[in-house]
Structure formats: structure tokens, C-alpha cells
Amino acid sequence: MANPTMSFAGLERTYDQLAQAIDSVGEDKTAALLAKLAMLLAHQLGDEQLVADAIVAAAADL
């Protein structure tokens, strides 16, 4: 993975915001929310290889 680019405090706030977003859309729309989020972040990141590596990392240890 790339070097961390967000502080731990920032990661914590992201964690909370994601948890709240998941709760607000409900169970049946959680997967869609996270899939859209992944595409948005991939677009922002602009590096196909980094995204591919992250997909492999996310799929591990499920």
C-alpha cells in the first residue's frame, strides 16, 4: 500500500462518518453505498494500479 496520507485523527473521523452513513442508508443499500464510494475514491486517486492493489488487499482475510 502507499504511504499513509491521512492522520489517525482523520481516519477516526472517516470511520465514524462511514459508520453513520451505513446506518442511515440501511442494510439493503449498504453494499451499493460502499461500491459507489470505492468508484469515487478510485476516480479521485487516479492510479489504476493502486486501486487494483487495494481491491486485492480488501478481499483478503474476509
Binding site: L18, A19, Q20, I22, D23, A57, A60, D61
Partner: protein, 561 residues
């Protein structure tokens, strides 16, 4: 509860003392002489009594029991609490009995994913944490309280009603020798989560209750595993939930595990179910020795507190004022800090050095500490027992990532108890030279310890009241000390000067030959720290001016300047 066939006080390792019911002098028409009553002889009430005694103030300590608390209760004393116990002259007693520790491990499924290392260095006399069963903590404190000759231990004297009459604390007390009333100018309510004082004054705890319940069990087993904190997330023996393991003295181990969703509390707490579960947990831990069950109970996490810790003559301390989750060892330690805070203030008021207004600083200072505790405790509790589906999904995602990615590991930090800094307190004086300080504790922060060349530590040398910690040069030592002593002589309370010098001068109590103490306190010759009796810094000056020191001292006593 205890196993079937063993009575309430039949512990495997602890002999419960049996105290005589105290026969109060009020029953014979004699007036109460003590100015302070303390309700509750738990660790918080006892530390308050000992702190008052340290400042020469007598107290009456009431408790409805005639022994110490039973069952599995607090077990972790943080360094800051040990430093308070040292001031009470009890460091050796506690060190000889407790198990010190600095680290912990967290596991996800069966893999270790996080190593906890609490701040520790050669400058510390005490380790970050010590495990000791609350029964011993109370027993040692009660013995010490009796030895002061200033604490009247009223065992078996239950406060049945508390009220305010003419601005004083008015208590109705019931005992086997008869019922009586007791009136004192001040009262510390350290009567726990079900505080009678809180109820009678019509006060409510406000805050949150958390999802999830924990079973707490103490067992005895021989094991060579070191004293560490172990946390298991989603272990095979408790799928989808958490498990905590702590070592205690006398071969006792504390095991806490979260009830799984849908599990019935009644079924889980039945003794055969309890034994089966513990057997499975021990197998997972790789422990093979025979074991015995000591005690078990159930626990739910809360962050609840009073809106104000002072109500007229009453000061709420410990669980009577605030309930905190167990994760992070905050309950006992914040209660001890409460008592350390209110005791010296009461002593200064009773010594006529400070107006009653000084006591108004207790609530904002300790409630500020509670708020910081809640913030940390909420985060660690939300991680241990996620409150919603969203938080659960995020927690599990972070745990899974923590197996291979270090960026996710800090989420597993239990955010252990740390002392609070009274930076915003009216008693603290924030100097104008703040930016010039290169290091050292700021105003409101507790002193940091330092290992001296003779093998002793800085905090070993603290006087019992206020302290003017003066960093002096060879020539200025005598003049500065005389000036500071002239200042301190104007007060009834103890205010002493402790000089630190790089080389041997007549006035120097502490020699800092290698200059590391100067360095760690960011001091140069002429720098002074004004320190409260509870070790928190009131103010500091790179170069002291006596008028500034006097102003800060008046501020710390809530006297108008």
C-alpha cells in the same frame, strides 16, 4: 456471585476483615467535632480521608458494611494513582503487593494484531499500571486511615438520609447501636453508583448507556503468562464478541467476555454454563492447569455523570459523581484523582487560607476530567461493543485490515487512563512566556517524575502542601529561597520551597549534576514552578518575579488579587 455452597465472603485468597460496629458519640449526646464527613469507605472515600489527614484535617468516615467490598471490582492502579499513594506514604505497601505492567496484546480471530506499549522510562519510579484486587486496596487504605489518628472509621453506620440544613450537611445515620443525626460543614459523597446522597438531593446522572453486557469472572489458576492486558476480538470461544484477560496477585485471573447478541443473561450466569465457558476460554489460552472459580457477575457500560459535582456542602466523588466503562481502567483512577482534588481544597478552606469559593473549582476541574475520560471511553467502548450495524461493519473491517496493514492498528489502542491537565481552570495561571518553554509540564498539568543521581526520584522529595520548585544557580539560591520563604510564611497551609541546583549550594535539596532535570523541565537558573498539593502545576516562570508568584498563589487559593 460465588459458586454454589460457598458463602458471600468465602474467597479463595482473601480473608475478609470483620470490623466492629462503631458506637457514635452522638448517641450519647456529644457533638460532632469533625468538620468533614465522608460517606463510603471504598478506595475513593478512604483516599479522601487520608488526603485530608495528610493536611491535618480530621474526618468521620461512614460505611454501612463492617468489612471491605466483596466480589470482582477494580483491579488497575495507574501510575498517577500510585504517585498519590506515595504522597500518602503507601508506595512500598502497594508495590510489594501489586503486579506492575507496561504492555498488552490484542488478537483478531487467533492472530496477534496489536501490541500495546504504555509510556514508560527510567525516569519513572512507577510502572504505567499495577494490578491489585480492590479488597487489598481498601484493606491497606483502611489500615493507613486508622493509623493517622485523624480518621474516625464508622463501620456499620449507614447513612439513611442526607439533606442540607442551614447550609450544612445533615445526615441521618442508622447503626446496630442506635440511630442518630450528624451535622458537618462539609461532606464528601463517595457512596458509589447507587449513592444515597445523590438520591436524597434529587440529582440525576446524565449521559449514555452502551450496547452489550460483559460477564466478569475471577478464577484461580497457576500460569506463567506475564502480567499484560490481553484483548481478543471475535475469538473462536466467543464468536462475534470480545474477551479480556488480566492477571492479578495470588494466582487470580480476571476474565471478561461480552455476551453474544440473543444470549440470555440468566442462562449464561448459571454456574454450569459459567464453568463450561471458562474451560473453553482456558483451552484457547493454552492453560492446562486445574482451576477454581472465585466469583462472577455481569456488567454494562455507561458514561453517566452529574451536571455539577458540588451541591452546597456536598462534594460527589468517584462513582457517586460519574460512571465510566471498565475498558481503560478509569473508574478507580479517576475517583482517586477526585479525592486528591477536593481534599487539599477543603484543607485550605478549613485552615482559613482560602474562601469557600475555592471549593467551587472542584466541579469544573473534575468534570472536565470526566468529559475527557468519556471521550476516550466512548471511543474504546464503541470499538469493543459497536453500538450499531454501521459501527460493527466498520470495526470488523478495521480488525480485518489490522492483520496486514499497520495503519489500521491504532484503532485497537484501548486509550488507557491518563492524568488530566487543568489548563482551563481558574486556579491555573497561564504565563505569557508559554512559547519560550522548551519542555516541562504546563500550567494545570501534573509534575513529571525524574530519576536523580542518588537513585531517588523528584517526586520522593515533594513537601506535603504547596511546593515552590525553584531551579537555582550557586549564588542566587539563598536570595531566591529567602524571598520565596517570606512569601510562604504568610499562609497557615504548608507552602515549602524545594531547590534544585546543578552543583552543591547550601540551599539545594536536590543536586542535578548532569543538568537533565533542568532540561526536562525546560528550566534555567531562576525558573520556578508553583505546584499544588495534588502535584498539578499552578504556574511556572522562566525567570520568577516574586509578585507574579504571589499573584499565582492567590489565584490557586481563589483569593481575589
Amino acid at each position: 456471585m460465588r459458586p454454589d455452597g460457598r458463602d458471600r465472603y468465602a474467597s479463595l485468597y482473601f480473608d475478609y476483615p470483620k470490623f466492629d460496629v462503631f458506637e457514635a458519640s452522638e448517641l450519647h449526646g456529644e457533638p460532632t467535632t469533625a468538620k468533614v464527613a465522608i460517606i463510603g469507605a471504598g478506595p475513593v472515600g478512604l483516599v479522601a480521608a487520608l488526603e485530608l489527614a495528610r493536611h491535618g484535617v480530621a474526618s468521620v468516615l461512614l460505611d454501612d458494611k463492617t468489612t471491605v467490598n466483596d466480589g470482582s471490582r477494580a483491579l488497575c492502579l495507574a501510575r498517577h494513582s500510585m504517585e498519590t499513594l506515595q504522597q500518602l506514604g503507601l508506595a512500598e505497601k502497594f508495590l510489594s503487593a501489586a503486579l506492575g505492567w507496561t504492555s498488552g496484546r490484542s488478537y483478531y480471530k487467533s492472530e496477534e494484531v496489536f501490541r500495546l506499549h504504555m509510556p514508560h522510562s527510567a525516569h519513572e519510579r512507577f510502572m504505567p499500571m499495577y494490578n491489585l484486587q480492590q479488597q487489598y486496596i481498601e484493606q491497606y487504605l483502611a489500615q493507613a486511615a486508622r493509623a493517622t489518628g485523624l480518621v474516625e472509621m464508622r463501620w456499620g453506620n449507614a447513612v439513611t438520609r442526607a439533606s442540607v440544613v442551614d447550609g450544612k450537611a445533615h445526615l441521618e445515620v442508622s447503626s446496630a447501636h442506635g440511630d442518630y443525626t450528624l451535622t458537618t460543614p462539609y461532606c464528601i459523597a463517595a457512596d458509589g453508583a447507587r449513592s444515597v446522597v445523590r438520591r436524597d438531593l434529587g440529582l440525576r446522572l446524565n449521559g449514555d448507556a452502551y450496547e452489550g453486557k460483559y460477564v466478569i469472572a475471577d478464577i484461580r489458576i497457576e500460569s506463567s503468562f506475564p502480567t499484560e492486558r490481553r484483548a481478543f476480538f471475535d475469538p473462536a470461544v466467543n464468536p462475534g464478541a470480545t474477551l479480556l484477560v488480566h492477571k492479578q496477585p495470588h494466582g487470580i485471573w480476571r476474565i471478561d467476555w461480552q455476551l453474544q447478541p440473543g444470549e440470555s443473561e440468566q442462562e449464561v450466569l448459571a454456574e454450569p454454563a459459567m464453568r463450561k465457558k471458562i474451560t473453553a476460554i482456558l483451552a484457547m489460552l493454552g492453560e492446562t492447569e486445574p482451576w477454581e472459580l472465585e466469583w462472577w457477575g455481569v456488567y454494562k457500560a455507561y458514561t453517566l455523570c452529574l451536571d455539577d459535582y458540588r451541591h452546597g456542602p456536598y462534594f460527589f466523588s468517584g462513582d457517586a459523581a460519574h460512571l465510566v466503562p471498565i475498558f481503560g481502567v478509569r473508574g478507580l483512577n479517576s475517583g482517586i484523582a477526585d479525592s486528591g482534588n477536593i481534599a487539599w481544597k477543603l484543607a485550605c478552606v478549613l485552615n482559613s487560607d482560602a474562601p469557600d469559593a475555592l471549593l467551587d473549582s472542584y466541579s469544573p476541574e473534575r468534570r472536565g476530567a470526566t468529559m475527557e475520560v468519556f471521550e476516550n471511553a466512548s471511543k474504546s467502548t464503541a470499538f469493543m461493543t459497536p453500538p450499531t450495524r454501521g459501527f460493527r461493519l466498520m470495526r470488523d473491517a478495521v480488525l480485518s485490515l489490522s492483520l496486514r496493514h499497520s495503519f489500521a492498528k491504532p484503532f485497537l489502542n484501548p486509550r488507557q487512563s491518563t492524568p488530566y491537565t487543568y489548563a482551563d481552570s481558574d486556579l491555573s495561571t497561564q504565563g505569557v512566556q508559554l512559547s519560550e518553554w522548551s519542555s516541562g509540564p504546563e500550567a494545570g498539568a501534573p509534575l513529571i517524575n525524574h530519576n536523580l543521581s542518588d537513585g531517588s526520584y523528584l517526586l520522593d522529595h515533594l513537601p506535603h502542601g504547596f511546593c515552590l520548585l525553584a531551579f537555582v544557580g550557586r549564588d542566587q539560591g539563598a536570595t531566591l529561597t529567602t524571598d520565596l520563604r517570606t512569601l510562604s510564611a504568610q499562609y497557615n497551609s504548608s507552602i515549602e520551597v524545594l531547590c534544585i541546583c546543578r552543583d552543591g549550594s547550601a540551599e539545594a535539596a536536590i543536586i542535578d549534576a548532569d543538568g537533565t532535570l533542568f532540561q526536562r523541565y525546560g528550566a534555567s537558573e531562576g525558573s520556578v514552578y508553583l505546584v499544588r498539593p495534588d502535584r498539578h502545576v499552578v504556574a511556572r516562570w522562566l525567570e520568577v518575579d516574586i509578585s507574579n508568584a504571589e499573584e499565582a498563589l492567590l489565584g490557586a487559593l481563589a483569593r481575589t488579587v
